[in-house]
């Protein structure tokens, strides 16, 4: 197989402005990867599948990774003007102090694709794509039109991580139930306190379920809860 760098230059020769980035893997496995720019991802994926020399006809594994927002604490030297009493007179002096600052580095959600070639018997080639952030810009282009094997796996990422794959033919939750709200594989997922919801609730469970329901009604106006809770 060609090296990942060679594949990168082959992509750039075929698709000008593809914006493919080489991501080295520091570990002993040395499975380096290519980060695709979402706008050109479909074109690059089609090229990788149809190019007779590469022929990545099989998409083996698709998965998500969560990179949460990071709070970075750093010390910055700041020069500021302070008023001081010097020799009994108030004066404005410049003073340099260390100031502890915190800044938030925005995280992202990442989709990772492992490609193999059944025809040429080589691989893996690792592709990655990143969303802009973790909250409102979580769309990535779906590669299901190129490789059908992504169908269930991208649904699973949508379910567990919350990446929305545009162009996916049937994007629904797959492992969690349809009424579920959160994305459990995210690093900041908090487990609910009521795992014990029963259709025929009684005692404490009933009380908690009623509280929960009244809160939900207050929030949304309508409730999607199942039957049975009086």
């Amino acid at each position: 197989m060609k090296t990942v760098e060679e594949i990168k230059s082959a992509i750039e020769a075929a698709i000008p402005g593809a914006g493919v980035e080489f991501v080295p893997n520091p570990g002993p496995s040395a499975q380096h990867s290519l980060r695709l720019a979402p706008p050109s991802a479909i074109a690059v994926a089609t090229f990788l599948r149809d190019d007779p020399g590469l022929a990545f006809d099989s998409l083996s594994n698709v998965t998500g990774v969560d990179w949460p927002d990071k709070e970075i604490a750093e010390k910055v030297k700041v020069t500021r003007q302070v008023s001081k009493m010097v020799d009994g007179v108030e004066q404005t002096v410049e003073e340099t102090v260390d100031e502890a600052r915190k800044r938030i580095e925005l995280g992202c959600l990442e989709a990772v694709y492992h490609l193999y070639s059944v025809a040429k018997k080589h691989g893996p080639l690792v592709l990655r794509m990143r969303t802009a952030n973790r909250t409102d810009q979580v769309e990535l282009p779906s590669l299901t039109p190129i490789w059908r094997s992504a169908e269930f796996q991208e649904r699973e990422i949508f379910d567990l991580y919350g990446i929305v794959f545009t162009g996916h033919p049937d994007l629904r939750r797959i492992l969690m139930w349809d009424g579920f709200k959160d994305h459990p594989m995210r690093k900041d997922y908090v487990e609910p306190d009521d795992y014990e919801y029963e259709p025929t609730a009684h005692d404490q469970v009933l009380k908690r379920a009623q509280e929960h329901q009244s809160r939900e009604r207050g929030n949304e106006g309508t409730s999607e809860q199942g039957p049975g809770v009086a």
Binding site: S29, Q31, S58, R148, L175, M185, Y189
Partner: protein, 390 residues
């Protein structure tokens, strides 16, 4: 499919299953097969729309056995997840162990001693035999042959599970492989017992085949039913015996040559038609090839250590990086994808489940078939719900 169609045009049609139009009059009947249907191998549901007996639509519904294995493994140490991998595909715990150990060994660059590699091959091939035998038994069960073929298969499986129990202490939840070797050594007595079990296997397969392969009912129910085309199978990520029954020569034991599979002589059985019968036959032939591998491995196994002396056990913290390791498990390509951030537990732990991904084409295979055949087509995929839902 016309000859002039390019690959891209053909693949555009693979995006969705084909549309089957109802031909009769009257309404479609929508039924939910499962989750507690005897043919669903656990808790799995197919929402089927029927026009008379013909299947017009089929949507698989997953998640009844979901316990977020991957999240739990992110909170455990690397070794702490090893016993939990047994519970993925609980018919093949030893191959699950091997796939996970292989991925972690790739992540840290760990070598495995020769004797341990031989033990791994022996256990993996025994696992393949008992998995294929019982999956054929279940297939016959779904065809209506209640009990007898399944019990024939289970009789043989029990002998192999006895070997596992002697070696690992457990029939099914073996928890045997370690990063850089195996947990305990095999004794000379165990190897003799294994040789005896392997020597008896060809007679079992002959008997099984005499009972089944040219059976008229089996041929009538299986031939030409549930056909899967080879190029769709590749595009949909189908692996294992299902892929090879569609005529695609792809066996990870031959392609990756992981472990010491380059030392053994064996053939890769292929099907012609991609129907249920070919899947059955490929499994029978794979049992025969596994016996050939076992004979060679049990003859050649060398003395020596079973753990790499440099393998780190306490304070196991891989350097930051990532690795994807895969093996040819009995059901297909079983892969583990790990990301390490230098901590004692994986930052990301992903199982690539062959059972789930082989079900991608379930609807394509079932459309236009009779509802009774859905049960058979589903059985011929050979899945375990512990791995589908994780």
């Amino acid at each position: 499919m016309s000859v002039t169609e390019t690959k891209s045009e053909r693949a555009a049609g693979w995006n969705r299953p084909p549309v089957v139009e109802p031909d009769g009059e009257g309404d479609l009947l929508e039924i939910a097969m499962g989750p507690h249907h005897p043919s669903t191998h656990g808790v799995f549901r197919m929402d089927v729309a029927l026009d008379g007996e013909r299947v017009i639509k089929l949507k698989p519904v997953f998640g009844y056995l979901h316990r977020n294995h991957e999240k739990i493994a992110e909170q455990a140490s690397y070794l702490g997840s090893m016993p939990y991998t047994d519970r993925l595909d609980y018919f093949c715990s030893l191959t699950n162990n091997w796939a996970y150990a292989l991925a972690v060994e790739k992540l840290v660059g760990q070598e495995v001693p020769e004797r341990a590699e031989y033990i791994r091959v022996i256990l993996a091939e025994l696992t393949r035999i008992q998995n294929h035998a019982s999956s054929i038994g279940f297939l016959l069960q779904e065809m209506g042959a209640s009990g007898t073929p399944l019990m024939y298969a289970f009789k043989e499986r029990e002998k192999i599970l006895d070997l596992f129990e002697q070696l690992t202490g457990s029939r099914m939840m073996c928890n045997y492989m370690r990063f850089g070797g195996c947990r305990v050594d095999v004794s000379a007595a165990w190897l003799d017992a294994a040789r005896k079990v392997v020597a008896d296997l060809p007679a079992f397969v002959d008997e099984f085949e005499a009972l089944l392969s040219s059976n008229e009912i089996l041929m009538a129910r299986c031939q030409g039913i549930g056909v899967l085309q080879g190029d769709l199978a590749v595009n949909a990520g189908v692996t294992g015996p299902m892929l090879r029954a569609s005529g695609v020569n792809y066996d990870i034991r031959k392609v990756d040559r992981y472990g010491i599979y380059d030392r053994f002589k064996f053939r890769v059985p292929l099907g012609d038609h991609g129907d249920i019968y070919d899947r059955y036959m490929v499994r029978i032939l794979e049992i025969r090839e596994s016996i050939v591998i076992l004979e060679q491995a049990l003859r050649d196994i060398p003395p020596g250590p079973i753990m790499d002396v440099k393998a780190k056990i306490r304070g196991f913290r891989p350097r930051p990086g990532e690795a994807y390791g895969r093996i040819e498990a009995p059901k297909g390509e079983l892969g583990f994808y790990l990301i390490s951030d230098g901590g004692p537990n994986p930052y990301r732990y992903r199982v690539r489940p062959p059972s789930l991904i082989n079900l991608t084409v379930l609807e394509d295979m079932c459309l236009g078939q009779n509802v009774a055949d859905v049960v058979l087509i589903f059985g011929s995929v050979d899945i375990v719900l512990g791995e589908v839902d994780r």
